[in-house]
């Protein structure tokens, strides 16, 4: 287990293994977490409509989505626990110095989890013990707590982007104010953007499952409703997300110029700079990009001749990786507009025919929209996190100073990759089983036997 001093020094200087490990576990957790935030709303909505109308299809959808939610919540809880450990095990330097400022929203998040876990237990296991209306009401705290936990945890991330609530005088940390830290300048755009993203991811992934089934010929009402309800939710949020994303971009432009320059692959700042779409940066230039003249100046300042600082203003050692940040950002925006297009298609068809389209092309588009929404969300996080490099706390603490200096730490990333590979396969397998085999019940499942029979 013990490493030589040379290996040790290399480990500290380049914390690539812990960074990879953190990115992997966050990127994994966030997919499940999005469903944990968004799915309760969907389940409670269809249950409510089902109770109101007595429509068996809606009630059955509620039961099935609730079962998936049960599995997802368990996996979300355990993958989130890994993250909590990693905050200390990997980033003990960050926690030792800044736990007092970043900790408060995490502590609040703990309570939100508690409420969520408690009411999920009641909701899932109490379906046949509570009167329908009471049961429906026990679903509401799950929704509120899910959104609240997303809000709290993203507050912590926002603080890493916009550290506030303290002063440093003579190298000492003074004037610590955890409330000001929690409600920093990035909190607004980041939390709203994330919560909307969670509902979009939920809407499009659930819809895509049913769209794929419809493509394979299962076009009964169950599948049509199962696609339509979440799809409408996702599509309704797509235009909202573009407005919120614009807000987020304005925040980055004003507070994190180095990140903006990396997002836009802008090596040389200036007046009237163009918007650079895609392309590949090397040697201080971007190759093969589409350029919209004066685009970036216009977008960031509503003025075609506005000045936008470039990477040349940032010392080379403090520049974030350009290609990853730029391509991730452009992918997110492209997908965002793609999903908007899907929403327009749906709206147009509804306006003309009062029906959700059921043609092959539309179904095909919906069935990839789930993966696309997840990809946009991951790309957004890569933009945020990689674009902040090499800082862990923007312009206050370098990632290299935050990492746990203990030897052998880099083994973790391999072990974790293995664990997540197995877990991914198992989750997909079990969710597919649930989708295909919802009605017969395992002999040991006496407790949910009544639940599954509708």
């Amino acid at each position: 287990m013990t490493l030589t001093p040379v290996q040790l020094a290399a480990d500290i200087a380049n914390p690539i293994a812990p960074r990879t490990q953190m990115g992997l576990s966050l990127g994994w957790h966030i997919i499940i977490a999005c469903l944990g935030v968004g799915l309760p709303g969907l389940v409670v909505f269809v249950e409510w409509r089902g109770i109101r109308t007595g429509d068996k299809v809606l009630l059955l959808l509620a039961r099935r989505w609730a079962r998936a939610l049960g599995v997802l919540f368990a996996v979300g809880a355990v993958s989130g626990t890994i993250l909590s450990f990693e905050m200390g095990v990997l980033w003990s330097g960050l926690m030792a110095g800044w736990g007092q400022l970043i900790g408060l929203p995490f502590a609040m998040e703990g309570f939100a989890f508690f409420i969520e876990a408690i009411f999920l237990g009641i909701y899932l296991y109490g379906w046949d013990r509570l009167p329908p209306r009471t049961h429906l009401l026990t679903g509401l705290p799950i929704i509120v707590a899910g959104v609240a936990s997303a809000f709290f945890v993203v507050c912590a991330n926002a603080w890493m982007n916009s550290p506030s609530g303290f002063r440093i005088t003579h190298g000492r940390l003074v004037g610590v104010d955890p409330w000001a830290a929690m409600f920093n300048r990035a909190t607004g755009p980041e939390t709203v953007h994330m919560i909307v993203a969670a509902f979009m991811v939920t809407g499009f992934t659930v819809a895509s499952v049913y769209a794929a089934a419809m493509l394979r010929g299962r076009r009964d009402r169950y599948h049509r409703v199962g696609m339509a309800v979440p799809l409408v939710m996702g599509c309704a949020l797509a235009p909202v997300q573009i407005v919120v994303g614009d807000w987020a971009a304005r925040y980055v432009a004003s507070d994190q110029p180095a990140k903006l320059a990396a997002m836009e692959a802008l090596f040389h700042g200036g007046r009237g700079v163009p918007e650079t779409l895609f392309g590949y940066a090397s040697g201080g230039r971007v190759h093969g990009a589409v350029r919209i003249p004066n685009g970036l100046s216009l977008l960031t300042h509503f003025d075609p001749n506005a000045y936008v600082p470039g990477l040349d203003r940032v010392p080379p050692a403090l520049r974030p990786p350009v290609n990853i940040t730029h391509l991730a950002f452009d992918s997110m925006v492209t997908i965002g507009f793609g999903l908007l297009g899907l929403g327009l298609w749906l709206a147009l068809a509804w306006w003309r025919r009062r029906a959700v389209p059921a043609g092959r092309w539309f179904l095909a588009a919906v069935s990839i929209s789930g993966v696309a929404a997840v990809a946009a969300m991951e790309a957004g996080w890569i933009t945020t996190e990689v674009g902040r490099q090499p800082w862990i706390v923007y312009e206050v603490m370098l990632v290299a100073r935050a990492v746990n200096p203990a030897p052998g730490l880099s083994a973790g990333v391999w072990a974790l990759s293995g664990v997540y590979a197995v877990l991914t396969v198992a989750v997909i397998y079990v969710l597919r089983r649930l989708a295909r085999r919802p009605l017969p019940v395992a002999p040991q499942e006496a407790d949910v036997a009544a639940e599954a029979v509708i």
């Binding site: 013990t2 079962r67 599995v71 368990a74 996996v75 809880a77 355990v78 626990t81 890994i82 909590s84 450990f85 990693e86 905050m87 200390g88 095990v89 990997l90 003990s92 926690m95 030792a96 800044w98 736990g99 007092q100 400022l101 900790g103 408060l104 995490f106 502590a107 609040m108 998040e109 703990g110 309570f111 989890f113 508690f114 409420i115 876990a117 408690i118 237990g121 009641i122 899932l124 296991y125 013990r129 705290p141 610590v176 955890p178 746990n404 200096p405 203990a406 030897p407 973790g412 072990a415 664990v419 198992a426 079990v430 089983r433 017969p440 040991q444 499942e445 006496a446 407790d447 949910v448």
Partner: protein, 340 residues
Amino acid sequence: MSLAVVLAGLVWLGVTAYALLAGADFGGGIWDLLAGRTERGRPARGLIEHAIGPVWEANHVWLIFVLVVLWTCFPSGFAAIASTLWLPLTLIAFGVIARGSAFAFRKAVTELWQQRLFGAVFAFSSLVTPFFLGACAGAVATGRVPPGLARGGVVGSWAHPAALLSGVFAVVACAYLATVYLTWDAVRAGEPRLAEGFRRRALATGVLAGVLAAAGLVVLRADGRLLYDGLTGRGLPLVALSAAAGVASLGLLAVRRYVAARITAATAVAAVLWGWALAQYPHLLNPGLTIEAAAAPGATLRATAISLAVGAALLIPSLIFLYAMFQRAPRAAAGPPSGG
């Protein structure tokens, strides 16, 4: 008493709740492992699953609670523990992942081989996780985690007799709590034969826990002198309480007073934890870091205290609702393994 000490006490309350509630859930998994072959073990496994199902996630959150309050209010202490003990903590995290997901997956699949596979993962990780949790506790308690980042040995800090014994003790204590809770659950579920089986196992594990605790004191004398002195000094009343409650719980099991046995068994475990806390007070990390020295600035402590108060006001009624609902369940065998 300062706010820092109050908050440290609340963290310890969280540790206690985790040990008594989630500990019993771990114990349930251990008995699942030892329940015997598929057919023979089915009734016991069914009971365990019913008992754990609705509550394990809520019980698990106590661990999160402990972590987040610790890192907010005692950042340097948290960082010292997490950085030195990264290896066992990572193994705990893997254990938590394997256990929670396998438990959820087992319910969702139908074929026997799948249930066996997920069941085995669930049961095995229920054994391993509390072992490492106990070993980490032993490392902190015996002063093997110095303040600062990664100052203790990656392996040496926890791979010594006292911490390893502490790990074994944690496993046995979890198993003991679970059998005591499950005996009463089985009675209420109208399964007298299962209840008798759990009662026999409870008596055996209870005796084992007592023997281990006594052995533990001997080992501590040699390998954890600081803690030993504390436990036999200021902590002595609680150590005595733990021993008395443990013996009482065995007696109550013998005469089949299961509810009272639950309370005494839980008291025995809680008293060990508080005895340890008292033994090393006012240190967070014995001997180098006191609670006051590790505490975050007052503004952070106050903000956390306010959040905890608001959170508790929401949480306590919800918890009561949860446990009450599954304790007076209409259908058989649906009691959670909670105390009381």
